[in-house]
Symmetry: C2
Subunit: 445 residues, 2 copies
């Protein structure tokens, strides 16, 4: 009987390991990214899992006999010697002197777009998205989603290190968390159910179990508007903390998480940061301004007349971003104490001024990336607020179990992963930083 | 202007830190789990984020004046001195001598079930599930999902360490991966779309980008049967590896992942392993048997007559589990080379015998926890197989982009997180190990 030992040994090296393998014979596996035939030799550029590696073919040092079958997007195993040379600036460059090429598979057709340039040039976003499985082979495109991986990983790692528990809330819900009409309905064996808009009610319930919880998972919003910053399915990074002293504990935790993420990107994702020319924010302290003070600033300093005194429009967010950068030397700005009327039913009002709430948004370079705040934990207070808002508390029986049977002071926040990625990259459309975006016009690929 | 520094300092200690704080005054926060009033003193048992801590109240060493408001499920901050004593067996026990109690919040009502016993006694599963936000406060119940956290975390960590990239496939799909009728339909702005049954097609596409990818995310199956091991929404832990030498690479990677998970549970989740009396499997080598040999074994050794020669029924899985344990001293058994007729259209047939496939299942203590295998990577071969199976390749244009424009030899697998948790715990129903299970009769809470 055969035994599977789990002792999988990689027979390949990554580009990072080239330096320590100088003049040694190593093996790489990947796609042929580009072939440049020269007189008497050829450059064969191989795209491995994370790198693009220059290999040099010449008949005199290779047992491989050049074959015209060898084409772009063929999958190959290349054996060769790691050789070092100096570039014009005196930096050491490594390349592979090809000893042999083994063709593992060949494409059936040529690519419909050029992917082997530094970036996808002159290709419309819709085409890029239609051809995602192909367009992502471009080094810059795929780097975007390595960065995204790093953000989600940093979020999880930092919270776990700080005693948070990972939860799994259901995506098929019996009621909408935030209510409203932006909700997808589903026929579930004859019952009408909904796709989760947010893990809100579940993460609050689980604060009563684990004190501090988080989830990174898809959420669904049936928003009809088709803007550059909205998606109908996106990844929400949520956390919820119990036993807080006040709502600044949540903001402090967010600062800690963001700092951890940026440090992780700097250390573990430096190649992609470089490929994408990302200007990583340095997070020291993040300034915090009250909502009404921010409104005043917008009107007095920027002479801008807001349409809505209960929320910010994109222009106002941009102005606040400029202000934070110029005057406070910060890429981030917390805005606190939003008006009660614009925050959900579970938000705790400020006892000092109940027209406002113990809530906050975080702006990053002039774009809102987080909403958070303290929640009501007292049963009577929550029921009264629901009634005041015209809601029927009986429909929220499960949700109110937390409050009825004891809830600690708590609060939390949500961060849209794709939107944060977009803004970190300076991209203009959130679809650019979503692997397979879903919007009112797109459910493919 | 206020500044948020991210320098959140915890003012509490965990039970693990008691030993190093002997005779020192520390602070804990949590729920009052149980109160036992004695003559002249009281035991106040506090349930913190991960522990249940015995505190002792006596008026002579406390500034707190006993108050009958103090009740079970009140949220409190307790300050006190860590004191050590010896139990009957000579082990050191730590408890907290209460100096002060601050009541942070009070429940509005008494709990409808008793949660402060070691386990939930004589409560029906349906009640436990109906009252999840409350029943999970029981130490044994909540330990289940810490173990589940550890499994998912181990899966991700091990794969990341081995060069895998985390992907995010959409849950709203334009076509079903596996086809068939077990699929939830959704009205998406007037279009009929589907909830993802599996990330299969996406993870294959992304093997063409990152070589090795994984995802831990919900999947949805509209299965009508109501069994103890099926759910309509569950968490699928998937990976897919490109540039494999053969399909045993996938099995080896799985052994590596499972070994990593069990080691992580042993080290980082030892409290929960103990609370739940989990018998963690030791994973050395995992034996592997061919499907037809397994059938022969079942018939000859166990004198059991299978109904279906193309698949196993639960009894057969159990028999194979017994065989693996008794004869091979293994909790796990790979079964390879399943009949082609029972595997999906993307499965690669065995060139040596095309009635069978380069696929496998993994049985853990007599229950299937994984299906995996090598996939077809050649375009022509995949199209021909689709046609042979009566499928229309034109409907799979996006999926076939991978094959058409070059795919490496590849394969992968999926593991149901809740089902693995169930079997590791020796639970009888997968709902016990699902936070908020969804089945044909249940969409709440």
């Amino acid at each position: 009987m055969e035994k599977i030992c789990g002792c999988l040994v990689s027979d390949t090296v990554s580009f990072n390991e080239f330096a320590q393998n100088e003049n040694k014979v190593v093996c790489i596996k990947g796609y042929i990214h580009r072939i440049r035939e020269m007189t008497g030799f050829a450059f064969v550029i191989v795209r491995t899992a994370r790198d693009v590696i220059q290999c040099v073919y010449a008949p005199e040092f290779s047992s491989y006999r050049w074959d015209d079958k060898l084409c772009e997007e063929a999958c190959v195993k290349v054996t060769g010697k790691v050789v070092a040379s100096q570039d014009a600036k005196g930096n050491t460059r490594y390349e592979l002197q090809i000893h042999d090429i083994e063709i593992l598979s060949l494409p059936a057709e040529n690519l419909p777009i050029v992917i082997n340039k530094k970036q996808l040039d002159n290709i419309q976003l819709n085409t890029i998205l239609d051809l995602r499985p192909i367009s992502m082979r471009n080094p810059k495109e795929r780097a975007i989603f390595k960065i995204q991986e790093g953000i989600a990983r940093g979020f999880r790692e930092c919270l776990m290190k700080n005693g948070f528990t990972e939860i799994r809330s259901p995506k098929i819900n019996f009621a909408g968390a935030e209510g409203g009409t932006n909700i997808f309905k589903l026929d579930y064996f004859g019952k009408e159910v909904y796709l989760a808009q947010s893990p809100q009610l579940y993460k609050q319930a689980l604060v009563g179990v684990y004190q501090k919880v988080f989830e990174v998972a898809p959420v669904f919003r049936a928003e009809h508007h088709d803007t550059s910053r909205h998606l109908n399915e996106y990844t929400s990074m949520d956390f919820e903390m119990g036993f807080i002293n006040d709502f600044t504990d949540i903001m402090n935790m967010e600062v800690k998480v963001l700092r951890y993420i940026m440090e992780l990107l700097k250390t573990e994702y430096s190649e992609e940061v470089e490929t994408l020319h990302i200007d990583l924010p340095v997070i020291d302290e993040i300034p915090s301004i009250k909502f009404m003070d921010a409104k005043e600033l917008i009107m007095k300093k920027f002479k801008y007349q807001p349409q809505d005194m209960k929320d910010f429009d994109p222009t106002e967010e941009e102005l606040l971003g400029k202000y934070a950068k110029k005057e406070l030397n910060s890429d981030f700005l917390f805005v606190t104490h939003y008006p009660s009327k614009k925050r959900p039913f579970y938000t705790m009002d400020d006892p000092a001024d109940p027209d406002f709430t113990l809530s906050f948004d975080l702006l990053f370079r002039g774009l809102e990336i987080t909403s958070g705040g303290q929640r009501i934990h007292d049963y009577k207070e929550q029921v009264e607020k629901m009634v005041k808002l015209g809601m029927n508390p009986e429909l929220f029986e499960t949700y109110l179990m937390l409050h009825k049977y004891g809830a600690p002071p708590h609060g939390g926040l949500g961060i849209g992963l794709e939107r944060l990625t977009m803004h970190l990259l300076g991209a203009k459309n959130v679809r650019e930083t979503t692997m397979f975006p879903r919007d009112i016009n797109r459910v493919t690929p």
